[in-house]
């Protein structure tokens, strides 16, 4: 029947032709129902009045192991009922609501006669197989989706629906699950359109005092599911999350009475644990996970789906839920899972984790979730070292880990996040100790006449001078420059004029490096984007705001480390132990470290719990209990004792509800029964072995799981401080950074220091490392904050002797290049070859259409080996000078203009 029902309308041939008058429909409907009732009553075990029949069937039927108590129902009768019902449902579906939103007559009849509930009971009366569930689910799905009048407002329709849903909880058949989630999704859509129904969803169970939100609870186990089912469940949950933003009650329920947030967060941990611990790196140039990389990794896709879902929940949900979720993600995923993963033993593992972290940062868009990730990176200490410091130190590793770490920092800097920039660079510049005292006023000065740009460009190696490059490569162009007319009366100030003195060209011999125009254009885009983004920052960082004197690192920061400790941090030697790479490791390798202890026990436990939650069936312990009970009741309907039957029967009779409306107390009876069972079981479980002769598998599993694993989510909730952490990440005050240092020794921070030292080795760095390095420095230089801008770009600023500036480093590199060029005769030719290849490489990227480089790089250059890093570095260095000079020039005109479009 199910398939017929489902397909009936799709064929475009409704069983009820349009235009048939409502009265006829009503008559047909009543006739059908009368036929159905006849069959229903015939098989009623108690053969009593229809009022009580249904109750008796469900509650009291007993029988031997799952077979119907009162003998099988003949197939023709079952079919007859199905056919009638099918037709009736179409009639109901097609009915329009009455005047002023009143029920249509058929609906009214359905409600009065409690048709839906009795049909549900009928399906229970027969064997309640998966097929039966499927059939019922589809029936409701059709009704909910296609009825022309609101149905769910009516308890006689809503209640059997809820019972049906309950009975499907914990079900294992994939078909039923799929149909269940589809129906739940549909219900959520209805809820989203008409939140007034929400109250009813709560009330159906609240009659008995329990707060429950069944459709929500039922969706939770599907949160991390793959494929369509998971996606539909997440979509449906998101609809509820959006509702929670408007509805306090939903928010409160989700936050206080469900394990939604912990399941989400620990689910991340579980999914993370199934990610590959080592990535297969396509080539040496590889430095971050692009979409085409992770699309090939199903486990990573699944993780990102869940992360994206967390992101979406945080975006739409009520602040209470949002706060709870980010708390759980911090304490349930980042700290216990990601932090240890970032400190694994082998280079490849750590590199893989770093690449994951970078990908996650690029995937998260919601500020609150980003904040969580960032506060983890900036403030969390793993084995008393800040994550940030560890990450910074890894930039200096000569292996691919160094490259991947660079890519991570490129992502971090690209967030335009004040907190990140403060911790990485700005806090070292605020005190202005890095420059001579007399220089402080220079910080905010702007370079009106491009003096710094000129000085930077003057570092161009002689072998790369635009005046000496061969024409095809230097693309110089004579651009005419007209001078103002000497005489104001001139009306022809054009360059064609000759001899009139009204216009002239400036040195027609002078050619311009046209590629420089591109750099200027890019610099403009980059700086103006950055200026806009930084409008939300708290301070200008111009040497006065925040005031240098007021910066008190000692107060909130940890005790300063000594300089030597500081320098050691820059070289992260914990990977030298790795056997694979030791051969290539530089001399300063340290002896292997002690193998670290097992991860702390609570982390192991947590991981286990998380995996269990994701892979096993998840049932909420308290609130969900009712639903479990209902399921049990339904499933065990034939396994009950006769004694209990009579017990309940008398119970019923005592309640004196016999004459009440048809089946109105059905649910009440369930609940009553549950409470009885519950108290017998010591309030814990359905563990009444005496009563449950044949426990049904799913429920039993659930029970076992719950006994084995105490799901103590409170142990990592945001409110409870974690033992190893002194302060909650969301508390008011933090220790900021381990690298606070005595400000008597001028120091611009480990990040700048590491970048500059890698920059200094430009000639021996591989091409892609240099591309990343120069990219990051250019990105930093585009920040408009005068402290940063003056530090990186102002070549006139006089620094303290111990402070190294970017300009100094560039000058050193130029010197190295000049020496190299002087000692190698073939240098100019190699330069040209490198330029050609780099150009072809860029062209191939452009041709690829998008910005993602394919994993297959352009063919290796023929005329020059890629091992000639010095040659490639020289070309890159020259281009980088242009890039920096362009940024410096654009700063001189951009930083002071109010942005406008």
């Amino acid at each position: 029947m199910a398939s017929m029902v489902a397909s009936g309308n799709r064929d475009g041939q409704p069983l009820v032709p349009k235009g048939v008058d409502p009265e006829t429909c009503m008559i047909v409907f009543k006739n059908h129902w009368a036929q159905v009732v006849k069959i229903l009553e015939k098989h009623d075990p108690l053969r009593s009045s229809s009022t009580l029949t249904s109750l008796s069937v469900i509650n009291l039927t007993t029988g031997s192991s799952g077979s119907p108590r009162f003998g099988p129902i003949p197939g023709d009768e079952a079919n007859a009922v199905q056919n009638y019902v099918e037709h009736m449902l179409f009639l109901l579906m097609e009915e329009d609501s009455g005047q002023a939103g009143a029920m249509g007559p058929i609906l009214e009849f359905v409600v009065m006669e409690n048709v839906m509930e009795r049909l549900f009971v009928w399906s229970l009366r027969r064997e309640f197989t998966d097929d039966m569930k499927l059939e019922q689910l589809k029936m409701y799905e059709m009704l909910v989706g296609q009825a022309r009048q609101p149905l769910l407002h009516h308890k006689p329709i809503l209640r059997p629906l809820m019972m049906l849903l309950s009975s499907c909880s914990g079900t294992a058949a994939p078909q039923v699950e799929a149909e269940l989630v589809l129906l739940l999704n549909q219900l959520c859509c209805v809820l989203a359109k008409d939140p007034s129904i929400l109250e009813l969803f709560f009330h159906t169970s609240e009659d008995q005092g329990a707060t429950n939100f069944l459709i929500f609870s039922l969706l939770i186990p599907f949160i991390h599911r793959e494929g369509t089912v998971g996606q539909q469940a997440r979509d449906a949950l998101l609809l509820i999350m959006a509702l929670s933003a408007e509805n306090e009650r939903v928010a409160k329920h989700v936050a206080e009475n469900t394990y939604f947030c912990p399941v989400l967060a620990t689910g991340l941990s579980g999914l993370y644990s199934s990610l590959p611990t080592k990535l297969e790196v396509p080539n040496e140039e590889w430095h971050c996970l692009h979409k085409e990389d992770w699309l090939k990794m199903p486990s990573l896709v699944q993780f990102l789906n869940s992360l994206e879902f967390c992101n979406a929940v945080i975006q739409v949900a009520h602040p209470d839920i949002r706060d709870q979720l980010v708390g759980y993600i911090y304490n349930g995923f980042l700290v216990p899972v990601l932090a240890p993963a970032l400190h694994k033993l082998t280079l490849e593992e750590v590199m893989t984790t770093t690449a994951y972290l970078d990908l996650f940062l690029r995937s998260v868009t919601e500020p609150a979730l980003l904040q969580t990730f960032l506060s983890f990176i900036l403030l969390h200490r793993h084995e008393s070292v800040h994550i940030l410091d560890t990450l910074v130190s890894r930039i200096n590793t000569p292996f691919q880990l160094g490259t991947v770490s660079l890519a991570l920092f490129r992502t971090l800097i690209g967030l335009y996040c004040e907190d990140v920039m403060l911790q990485l660079v700005l806090r070292y510049l605020i005190p202005c100790n890095h420059m001579m005292l007399s220089q402080r006023r220079v910080v905010r000065e702007r370079d009106c006449y491009s003096v710094s740009a000129a000085k930077i460009l003057a570092l161009t190696p002689s072998c790369c001078s635009p005046d000496r490059s061969p024409p095809p490569l230097r693309q110089l162009d004579s651009i005419l420059f007209s001078k103002g007319a000497e005489t104001p009366n001139s009306t022809r100030a054009t360059e064609e004029d000759d001899g009139s003195g009204n216009s002239c060209t400036i040195g027609s011999e002078i050619y311009l490096d046209v590629s420089y125009l591109h750099y200027l254009y890019d610099a403009r885009l980059s700086i103006s984007g950055c200026i806009q983004a930084c409008q939300v920052w708290s301070a200008l960082y111009d040497g006065e705001d925040p005031p240098p004197e007021k910066y008190q690192p000692g107060v909130l920061e940890e005790p300063a480390l000594t300089r030597t400790q500081m320098l050691e941090l820059e070289w992260d030697d914990s990977y030298d132990a790795c056997p694979v790479q030791t051969a290539e490791a530089p001399v300063e390798s340290k002896p292997p470290q002690q193998p670290p202890a097992e991860p702390p026990k609570h982390i192991q436990e947590m991981r286990k719990t998380a995996i269990m939650l994701v892979k096993g069936t998840y049932i909420e312990e308290n609130e969900f209990q009712d639903d479990v009970m209902v399921y049990d009741l339904v499933a065990k309907k034939d396994a009950r004792d006769v004694e209990r039957q009579t017990d309940c029967k008398s119970n019923l009779q005592n309640n004196n509800t016999a004459a009440a409306e048809l089946g109105d107390d059905l649910l009440a009876q369930y609940e009553e029964l549950i409470r009885t069972l519950d108290s017998e079981a010591g309030g814990k479980q359905v563990k009444t072995d005496a009563e449950v002769k044949k426990p049904v598998a799913p429920a039993a599993e659930v029970e076992e799981e719950e006994e084995e694993e105490e799901m103590d989510f409170t142990s990592f909730s945001a409110e409870t401080p974690e033992p190893e952490k002194v302060q909650s990440p969301f508390g008011p005050k933090f220790c900021s950074g381990s690298v606070g240092r005595s400000h008597s020794v001028p120091f611009t921070g480990p990040f700048v220091s590491v970048l500059l030292s890698r920059m200094e080795n430009m000639l021996s760095n591989s091409l892609h490392v240099n591309l990343l390095l120069t990219g990051i420095l250019a990105q930093l230089a585009a920040y408009p904050q005068p402290l940063l801008r003056s530090f990186l770009l102002n070549t006139n600023l006089v620094f303290q002797p111990t402070v190294r500036s970017l300009y100094q480093v560039l000058a050193t590199v130029k010197h190295q290049i000049e020496e190299q060029a002087a000692s190698r005769k073939d240098f100019p030719e190699l330069i040209t070859a490198a330029q050609h290849w780099l150009l072809a490489r860029e062209t191939s990227f452009m041709a690829a259409g998008d910005n993602t480089p394919t994993s297959s790089p352009p063919p290796k250059p023929k005329a020059i080996s890629l091992d000639r890093t010095d040659v490639f570095a020289t070309v890159l260095f020259t281009e980088f000078l242009k890039e920096l000079a362009a940024i410096a020039q654009e700063h001189s005109i951009l930083s002071y203009i109010p942005m406008e479009e």
Binding site: S450, P466, E900
Partner: protein, 297 residues
Amino acid sequence: EIGQSTWSLPWATGLLLTRSDNEEQSGHGEQRASPARLPFGKKQLPPIPKNAAPITKPVTTGTPAQSANGTHASYGPFYLEYSLLAEFTLVIKQKLPGIYVQPSYKSALMWFGVIFIRHGLYQDGVFKFTVYIPDNYPDGECPKLVFDIPVFHPLVDPVSGELDVRRAFTKWRRNHNHIWQVLMYARTIFYKINTVEPLNPEAAVLYDKDVHLFKSKVVDSVKLCNSHLFDQPKIDDPYAISFSPWNPAVHEEAKERMFTYKRRPEDHHKGTQVSGLSWVKPGSTQPFSKEDGSPQS
């Protein structure tokens, strides 16, 4: 009058190097299409024609590769250009009352301007002028300022219309002198009359001896200037300042926009993906110091 708010840099994106429409189409189009950022380090090299044989020997050894201050001559025009752009941004920043300038389309060394005199002897005067900047700026002499119509004033040449700027800037000093100061000076002369060493002796003498006659001459001069207000600009340039009679079809909408437009930073953020983040409490230098910890919008 023109509202003092919505200046844009006409040549900021295109660079002010002398333009012909030809260049605009080829060179700039290319440039606009280029900024797609490569994933990292989009180092840019000029395109090479295929099969172009690299020439290794340096061309023209005669010209000096580096200019006097050690920088490459090829970039000289860029420095000049940005110096002038910087000057222009300073002008904008000064918000000089009643003064509007606009660089020429054809050359950054020529700026068109207009000055509105709101009170005093020259009240209601609307004087158009042109600023000429020496091409060795900022190391040359001070810029010239020439009124389109020689206004009757002791310091304005009655024939050429040139204002005597040099008396205020005897030596043009880089870093100290800026073009906005010249514009400011041009405004001041109409409020504070100086007759020492005049370019227009007649005006100077009259001012000292017969203020009454001077005043009436000034009124005539102002009338004359204003009667030529709607004339075609003296210099044919797309960015020359031109006035036209009020035409509701053209001006009403613009006026409407000027009066209703409030510059709100948050408007700019809408639609743009780029947006910064901060959880730093103002006055604090600690990350995540904002109490609520709630994200910035």
